[in-house]
Symmetry: C2
Subunit: 181 residues, 2 copies
């Protein structure tokens, strides 16, 4: 294991060759209303809807969203089967699960993991300029959980998606000193 | 918007130029015992510990894990500050949050989002051969939530991490017909 990787108890330093092509494809959260969530993830966060899969018999739809590399639209195959394979083979997607009818149920509300019982926390989105990104979110009317200057973790913001899930916004080159003595 | 992207109500078809460099960096979940979780994510899933950040004053540690492209170890900077910037600028990481002492608290248990109150679902890991990946998980003693041939969704498996969070395993080229009439 190269010196420049971090170390900690429990670590397997030499991953099994069988795992070499494993990829972290997606993170799934349940949503109440796809129209609101798609607006948030595409308009506010700038993601693209890579694949939408409808399951008539089980009455749900999966929406896979993510970023394309600049000018990367051409990497998404137009053939539906090939597009599904592309979708599941790439990295860094969010999968939104919509059970049909939840959007009309006034009592339906999902748990964002940050109140008891805690578990899941958030997704984190890297932005080139956190101040500018936050000003843009304010203009778009996106609710904030934490503004960049609130609390202990300066320069890091949290906004809330339409279901109340937290989305962290940060600027990679401004965090170099974080978590160091 | 190119014809070959999917469409749905609520979609913003032309993402704001300001979001063009946004990247989905990580998904955060809280963990009880880093030694167990690091063993699972590195030995069973084959991820690497890209960055470990300790917050002495707030008594917690963040572990960022993910896959490297084949032969990609050299892309991880050895300088600690540069490595943090790399960590937060790349895609497809999982962030494990460990509040110190939770591993010694017999009552501490996190909520995996799949029992009430539901919300978060899972992370999904693409593997080149789902049968072989599942056999390997069995051998390693990883508990299954769903084996590939259980239930409606054939070819898709779910295993459980040490806190009970679900990890989906699937083979991208075997899902081409999924969610289609």
């Amino acid at each position: 294991m190269p010196q420049h990787f971090d170390d900690a108890p429990g670590l397997c330093h030499e991953p099994d060759a069988e795992t070499q092509q494993y990829r972290l494809n997606h993170t799934m959260v349940r949503i109440k209303d796809p129209e609101k969530s798609l607006d948030f993830y595409t308009r506010a966060l700038g993601m693209r809807l890579i694949r939408k899969l409808d399951f008539e018999d089980m009455q749900f739809t999966l929406y896979f969203l993510g970023y394309l590399p600049e000018g990367g639209e051409s990497e998404v195959p137009s053939d539906p089967a090939a597009r599904t394979t592309y979708n599941f083979g790439r990295e860094a997607l969010i999968e939104l699960t919509h059970n049909w009818g939840d959007e009309k149920d006034p009592d339906k509300q999902f748990h964002n993991g940050n109140e008891e019982p805690k578990g899941y926390g958030h997704i984190g989105v890297a932005v080139p300029d956190v101040e500018s990104a936050c000003q843009r979110m304010e203009t778009l009317g996106v609710p904030f959980q934490k503004r960049p200057n609130d609390g202990n973790m300066k320069g890091i913001a949290f906004v809330r998606d339409p279901d109340g899930y937290w989305v962290e916004l940060f600027q990679p080159d401004s965090l170099a000193k974080m978590g160091r003595a």
